[in-house]
Amino acid sequence: MIDVQNVTKSYGAFEAVKDVSFTVEQGEILGFLGPNGAGKTTMMKMITCYMPPTGGRISVDGLDVLTDSMGVRKKIGYLPESTPLYEEMGVLDYLNFVADVRKVKGADRTRAMDRVISVTGLTKVIHKDINELSKGYRQRVGFAQAIIHDPEILVLDEPTTGLDPNQIIEIRNLIRELGESKTVIFSTHIMQEVQATSDRVLIIDQGKIAAQGTAEELKASIAGQMHLDMVLRNADKSKFIEAIKNIEQIHLEDIKLQKNGDIEAALKVDAGTDLREQLFDLAVSNQWKILESSPSSFTLEDVFRKLTN
């Protein structure tokens, strides 16, 4: 449905997107995950024809964003970051205006309005002005304008930012509901969001794709790996580092010297190994005292942190 090939975007000397390629299948919900400034918004602005890529090709349902911009725009419903709305307009006036520009007319208009208002739950505020609305309702108006022409594709840029936990869940449900019949791309920097909503995740960092796959696939890529946090007393830092280096299956991630001289170490242990005994023996032979040893498994959060650090 959406085909992105070797796309680059530079703002002057700064390359916001570097040689990115991916495809989105029809009916798929794709989550764009990445830290702020990773290039998520830039990518979305290029897909929605706000600005052209510097290099590469983007096509939407076979239509090129450069040569068939109007055709692409008709297929897409877009909710930009921070939900820009005309503050001084009424909700109904605004939706009518979007329907006007989108050429939704006559009986179609009446049907579209009824559908959109009920799907996004705007009935209560339909006669209010937009500047009187709460953040949650504003977001719904943003959704309503994006789906008024019943587009095949929805592009949503950080649709849950700034909402309270209840509203976030409502919006996630809305995305899932809309995703049943539409192709959806949405961006976020919140991990649980992609896990909860999307079929597939694309992790973007510094303008490049750092990883892609389903949430399960991404977790599997580091499956079995464990974190091990240890606190040792009476240990010499350099000696400890040396000793850890000699054990192949353990990788030192971080080491800190506490005020009282204790050593706090964060270790990563390879899949399928249990080195607790070995570490115990190591400590005993050096007369170190293990004060703490707590293993934990990796989460999607760790995948993200690992890939985008």
């Binding site: 600005m51 930009p80 005309y86 001084e88 307009m89």
Partner: protein, 239 residues
């Protein structure tokens, strides 16, 4: 075409949902009529001549401050609220957006023009107005306002701040209005400046003659201003 009308209707709603339209229209009419009937060395009531040229002389100056106030919000506010991003990703061309917005300002101006008819109509009851001159003056005044508004729209497309747009608008219009005073004599430069100035072409309408050169001048200024506005919207693509 329906896209242009959609933009036009939205802008008209915005003008009349807020006090902008009423303030702008009434302040123009009050100030201009006061200047014409009651101000200066030759107020209408004192000189006792059935001539309404004063309306257009004073009107041109008052409009210099009023027209940019009408157009200042058109693009700058879209930029300020980030709604421009949504607008330009809908199936509508940048030029359609500009024309739709421009059309709404022309209608506001038409209401202003309608308001100024009070003077010629009431005077025609008591005196003998030259209807040819009145008509050609009104055509001139319409083109003058249309040009101011197009320039104000262009000014609005340069910035995301309405006040900045207002001031840039006044400056651009004033430069074009007063250009004939910027070079003296009869050299090439002076002739060029004179022919480029709004005042020079505007004055011709009061003689009761419609010269295609004057019309062409105003139409060119309007077209260039609209083209610049649309290009400014498009500049997002070259960032």
């Amino acid at each position: 075409m329906s896209e242009i009308l959609a933009i036009y209707r939205k802008e008209m709603k915005t003008y009349f949902n807020s006090p902008i339209a009423f303030i702008v229209i009434s302040s123009f009419l009050v100030i201009t009529n006061w200047l014409f009937f009651d101000y200066g060395d030759y107020p209408f009531f004192a000189i006792n001549i059935a001539d309404i040229r004063g309306i257009f002389d004073y009107g041109a100056i008052v409009l210099l401050f009023i027209a940019p106030a009408v157009s200042m919000r058109l693009i700058s506010e879209e930029k300020h609220q980030d709604t421009l991003e949504l607008l330009v990703t809908m199936p509508i061309t940048d030029m359609q957006i500009i024309i739709g917005k421009y059309l709404s300002t022309l209608v506001i101006f038409a209401i202003i023009l309608g308001g100024t008819l009070i003077a010629p109509i009431s005077i025609s009851f008591v005196g003998d107005l030259d209807s040819g001159i009145v008509i050609s003056s009104y055509i001139g005044f319409f083109f003058l306002g249309a040009t101011y508004l197009a320039m104000g729209l262009a000014a609005s497309s340069f910035t995301r701040n309405q006040i900045v747009a207002y001031i840039i608008g006044i400056v651009i219009i004033a430069v074009f209005f007063l250009m004939n005073g910027m070079a003296n004599g009869s050299g090439l430069i002076a002739t060029l400046f004179e022919n480029l100035s709004i005042r020079f072409h505007y004055q011709n309408f009061f003689r009761g003659v419609l010269d295609s050169r004057d019309l062409l001048y105003f139409i060119s200024l309007i077209s260039v201003s609209l083209l610049i506005s649309s290009t400014a919207l498009e500049s997002r693509k070259n960032k």
